[in-house]
């Protein structure tokens, strides 16, 4: 019975993480108001600044990361491979510097809380009070 309960708990956890909402986070000192299109601009290399004009320091995950896949599909409406191709064009034609890569969500949180112009994204369940959520989807 215990085993069954554990299994149920596990499957709920898996279920939750597969369907968890993603939140876009910025430094707690950053009071910027953002729309989805603002985040899209940054992660698709069309803009290097927040709507308030401050330069962005964006962070992303590797293209084979599950969270990255959910973010690219859900917000950017692209596969990670397409986003990689897009950034390849921008990087090698000098039009942009791609987001730095976080090894895991904790890495992302640490970066965002220490860097005033940072932007990143994590699962809603991983949100800590040290960062500010600007968008949830």
């Amino acid at each position: 019975m215990k085993k069954l309960l554990l299994l149920a708990a596990l499957s709920i956890a898996v279920f939750k993480s597969a369907w968890a909402d993603i939140v876009v986070i910025v430094n707690s000192s950053n009071d910027v108001v953002m729309a989805k299109s603002d985040v899209r601009r940054i992660y698709m290399g069309k803009s290097g600044q927040f709507p308030n004009g401050k330069p962005t320091k964006a962070m992303n995950y590797e293209s084979n990361n599950a969270l990255r896949h959910q973010f690219d599909k859900g917000l950017l409406n692209r596969d990670p491979a397409q986003i990689q191709a897009l950034w390849a064009k921008l990087v090698f034609t000098g039009q942009g510097i791609p987001p730095t890569i976080a090894a895991n969500p904790q890495d992302m949180i640490n970066f965002v809380k220490s860097e005033p112009n940072a932007i990143g994204y994590i699962n809603e369940s991983d949100v800590s009070p040290e960062v500010r959520v600007v968008i949830k989807f």
């Binding site: 004009g53 330069p55 191709a85 390849a88 990087v91 090698f92």
Partner: protein, 441 residues
């Protein structure tokens, strides 16, 4: 504990210093063949030879290495080395990009140094095949302007109004492009303007470049070719040269003395300070699942290199890791008709001579159309891109080139070298098959 923090801080700062210098790269390993032993495919018209009916690996194969150093938030530099088979038939790395960039604001930047003149939509990423759907940008358009680099300055401004994003780029510079013959094309000046507007899945782009070019031989000069002046309706006439005596004139009188615009026509034909203006319009639709991309271009080169137009349309879709696509493209020269103007007495004399010989007369004396390139061809392409691993793609593409018309000084059109009679006279299609592996790192 304090020591540990200090250590961590030191570590952090050294890491962040290292992160300001980045090395990245891209490459393609490709195999190409045609369906014909007499027909060689060349990826660009600076290559001395190409691939015929055996697989060759040196057409699209390329390796690029980029070092990028961010000095601070405003200043950065980029050096990109590119190794691909060149006009000297080797893979010696060339400096493809080398510039210093100044960004006073995140949406405004200036560059000084070497970059690529973005005359067409995919000009500046034409070597980064991973970033494009095809194995290479469509030959019918991209070979109309073998423009690579530009040494100069540019400015880029980006912004948005509501859901419309825009980007404006202006550039100015010059470049000398070397060819296998030892000769070159010198672009005395290149000045361009590019505007891009995107909304939702749509991107629209307009580009114009005003340029001036000369085609020079290995000694760096532009020799006078012989021109042919057509004086009868069925194409008979005289060879004319400004400094030599004219067959139909008195002893000691040069053609330059009797043909008032011979020098102008000579400069026109021989590509001495002739225009190389390019107008380009592009539209892209990409909703993540379906995509379409089309470009149109017009070249005003008013010289032995005739004016030209070209266009393509690519349609495709994404099914998981696979992206099948089809493309149609064409390229076509628009020859101008040029005439010689003779002094009135010599015009009358030549007319009288034609009449006396019983040949058919003509109103005006044309510069033989064989002086100008003439090409017309179209291409149907089908291919598939397979994104099999992060940052890697495999592509298979088949092109059916259809050479329709190549006269005068024209060769067999863009992309093809032929050992034997002109392809257009043989009424033959050429199939080119390419398998390529693209990667970035």
């Amino acid at each position: 504990m304090k020591y540990i923090s200090a250590c961590l801080l030191a570590l952090c700062s050294s890491v962040s210093l290292a992160s300001d210098f980045k090395v990245s790269g891209f490459g393609t390993l490709s195999a190409v063949k045609t369906n014909n032993a007499d027909v060689e495919f060349i990826q660009n018209n600076r290559l001395p030879d190409g691939a015929s009916d055996d697989w060759e690996f040196d057409n699209d194969t390329v390796l690029g290495l980029q070092g990028q150093y961010k000095i601070n938030d405003e200043w950065s530099t980029v050096l990109q080395l590119l190794s691909r088979r060149n006009e000297n038939n080797n893979f010696d790395p060339q400096i493809d990009w080398a510039y210093i960039k100044y960004s006073p604001k995140p949406n405004l930047s200036f560059r000084l140094g070497r970059f690529i003149s973005p005359v067409f939509l995919s000009s500046d990423n034409r070597n980064v095949n991973f970033s494009n759907i095809w194995v290479r940008p469509p030959i019918d358009i991209y070979s109309q302007a073998t423009i690579n680099n530009i040494d100069g300055i540019d400015v880029t401004y980006r912004g948005y109004i509501g859901d419309f994003d825009y980007k404006i780029q202006a550039y100015l510079g010059g470049y000398t492009l070397d060819f296998p013959s030892g000769g070159d094309i010198k672009f005395h000046h290149m000045a361009g303007l590019v505007g891009t507007l995107s909304y939702d899945a749509w991107t629209f782009r307009l580009a114009y470049m005003d340029a001036d070019h000369s085609s020079r031989n290995a000694e760096g000069i532009i020799p006078d070719p012989n021109l042919f002046m057509v004086v009868t309706a069925d194409g008979l006439g005289y060879t004319v040269n400004p400094d030599e005596s004219c067959l139909f004139a008195d002893e000691g009188v040069t053609c330059g003395d009797v043909i008032t615009n011979l020098r102008d026509n000579m400069d026109y034909v021989k590509r001495s300070h002739r225009p190389f203006d390019l107008a380009n319009a592009a539209v892209v639709y990409d909703d993540g699942k379906y995509f379409a991309q089309g470009e149109f271009m017009y070249r005003h080169s008013a010289s032995v290199l005739s004016n030209a137009i070209g266009a393509y349309m690519t349609l495709g879709m994404r099914i998981g890791e696979f992206s099948p696509y089809v493309s149609y493209s064409f390229g076509k020269t628009l020859k101008e008709t040029k005439y010689f103007e003779l002094t009135p007495e010599y015009k009358a004399a030549v007319d009288a001579g034609v009449e006396a010989s019983g040949l058919l007369q003509t109103d005006r004396f044309q510069v033989s159309e064989y002086s100008f390139t003439s090409n017309k061809q179209n291409t149907i392409t089908a291919g598939v891109r397979y994104d099999f691993a992060p940052n890697m793609a495999l592509k298979l593409q088949v092109d059916k080139f259809r050479p329709l018309e190549h006269d005068g000084r024209g060769n067999n059109g863009s992309g093809l070298l032929v050992d034997g009679p002109l392809l257009s006279t043989q009424n033959r299609n050429v199939y080119v098959t390419t398998v390529s592996f693209d990667f970035i790192f």
